[in-house]
């Protein structure tokens, strides 16, 4: 069961989604998303472009934030918009905490909506993918 609009309050935090990507998961993502840029799975290639290591795909972090929202709203709700910027790199085998806080609860065109501030956080507590979202709730 997903969240219900009546129970949501502005300022509330939604349950955190914990991620930690193996290099194998990044290869799954490359295939699943069609993004085969080598900085995400070829260590030598990543280093040659000046990176310290393979980096997690930005779009995968966007998809993690999508999962954070989907898992919260359930299938009676819908994710209506998800957006984030890629401000910092995340690396394989490091925790990525996906978090969200409700910023606005309102009704529009007969839909029960909630806006959220969402972000991914690295092990140092830095927000590497800050963004915002809108969901519809039952």
């Amino acid at each position: 069961m997903g969240a219900s609009w009546d129970e949501v309050q502005e300022g509330m935090e939604i349950p955190t989604l914990e991620k930690n990507c193996s290099t194998q998961q990044l290869v799954h993502w490359a295939a699943g998303s069609g993004d085969f840029y080598q900085i995400h799975y070829d260590h030598n290639f990543a280093e040659a472009t000046g990176l310290p290591n393979i980096i997690v795909h930005g779009a995968l972090k966007h998809a993690f934030l999508g999962q954070l929202l989907h898992d919260w709203v359930g299938n009676e709700g819908r994710v209506k918009r998800v957006g984030c910027s890629y401000r910092g790199m995340d690396f394989p085998d490091e925790d990525i905490h996906c978090k969200g806080v409700v910023t606005r609860k309102y009704e529009e065109d007969g839909e029960k909506l909630v806006d959220l501030e969402i972000w991914t956080e690295n092990p140092d507590g830095q927000r590497t993918s800050p963004g915002s979202a809108t969901v519809r709730l039952p």
């Binding site: 998961q25 799954h28 998809a63 819908r78 957006g83």
Partner: protein
């Protein structure tokens, strides 16, 4: 190193490309591709894997998870549409980073759908940042389904430096 006298990274050709629509791209959404995408993100919700569960939850078939907007139909014998936002700036920039993604969903996308996307560059800006000279290109892509309905609008930010 007098920055003021340097010419813009943005060429006339790049300026002229703003707002110009791309050729359409066809993208398929099928059950296997939905499962692959959902698995790669780490979803456990059965609606992304089991069609009966998806239908019990009210979807036509497996729904596309947030972030999945179909897989472009690959055919090595056909020339692909010219990539957007990759015109050469006045000084060469070697590296590319994804700056951000924003997707608005207007209606459900499910396995069996065939989407058509059309992109256009909406802005090109230059900035100096921690990466040095940067060129920031914002591209808007509109996705329609086989009924012609707009299902999603993606705004992507690309950074070259």
């Amino acid at each position: 190193m007098s920055d003021e006298t340097q010419e813009s990274l943005i060429t006339d050709e790049m300026r002229a490309s703003i707002g110009r629509e791309s050729e359409p791209t066809t993208l398929e959404v099928d059950k296997t591709s939905v499962r692959m995408f959902a698995r790669s993100v780490g979803y456990t919700d059965p609606v992304y894997y089991d069609e009966a569960a998806a239908q019990a939850a009210g979807y036509r078939s497996l729904p596309a998870p947030p972030g999945y907007l179909g897989t472009p139909v690959f055919n090595p014998n056909k020339r692909s549409a010219r990539p957007q936002g990759m015109l050469e700036p006045s000084r060469p920039l070697k590296r590319v980073l994804n700056g951000g993604t924003d997707i608005e969903y207007l209606t459900d996308i499910c396995a069996g759908d065939i989407l058509t996307s059309i992109s256009a560059v909406s802005s090109i800006e230059e900035r100096k940042g921690r990466l040095g000279e940067m060129l920031i290109t914002t591209t808007k892509t509109t996705y329609r389904n086989q009924e012609g309905e707009v299902v999603a609008i993606m705004t992507g930010t690309g950074i070259r430096y």
